[in-house]
């Protein structure tokens, strides 16, 4: 059976490229019987999904509230736009 160490490498790679068929099958078989690697994959995909949702929330005022330009920076940027 594919060692877990190799499986985690393939899990990561499968998030970036389409794995060759043999590797893909070995990985899927492994994940079906290995709860730890299955969990590992779920968590990596969750991190990705969470980051993309965080990014998408950046354009709404209620999204990621508190992360705003400081007053200093705001004034500095406005000034630089008046006298570019």
């Amino acid at each position: 059976m594919l060692p877990c160490k190799d499986a985690t490498q393939l899990i990561s790679q499968s998030m970036d490229t389409s794995l060759p068929i043999v590797k893909r099958i070995r990985l899927r078989l492994h994940i079906r019987i290995c709860e730890w690697c299955a969990r590992y994959e779920r968590q990596l995909l969750l991190i990705r999904k969470t980051l993309r949702r965080l990014d998408a929330a950046g354009d709404r005022p209620e999204g990621r509230a508190g992360e705003t330009l400081s007053e200093d920076a705001r004034e500095r940027i406005k000034k630089s736009l008046r006298n570019p």
Binding site: D6, I47, L54, R64, E67
Partner: protein
Amino acid sequence: MSKAGPVDPSEWVDRYGDYLFRYAMLRLRDRSRAEDLVQETFLAALKERNSFSGDSSEGTWLVAILKHKIVDHFRRQSREVSLPDGGLPDSPGDEPFDANGHWTAGPAEWGGNPADLFRQKKFLEQLTKCLNALSPNLANAFTLREIDGADTKEICKVLRVTETNLWVILHRARARLRECLETHWLGRSPEEES
């Protein structure tokens, strides 16, 4: 982002400043650097105002400029990395596997509702810390791939690594980040977090 018509540049900062800042902060995690790039973005936009086609919203146009500036920043940073191959020293001993490649301690079950993760301020704070703990090339590759969904070939050009190396870089970045999040935040149940 509302699809309002173009506004006067003097109003840009109030209308788009915070949005651009959050966009930059998620990718750079450095307040002063993010503010600088937002300023550069507005100045570049001012210069090229006439080239704004109006096909997209003004906000989308400004983000596109900022995105270029961030990638340029990553490109410059990758040149400063002294190690070849994007800084990939062997990292023996810090992997959670035994000699046979089996988990020594498998991933923990993450408590709480994972779907709510992105609403948690603490998650973003911890993520920032964990990403900052990675070398710049690992963090930048991870950012381009996981947040921006950039094509791996494109990332290879920016960071000047081969595709095989990029897979190693991304694997390490993901593994370390996951472990860091688990250790410092996610592995604990919400009750312990108060």
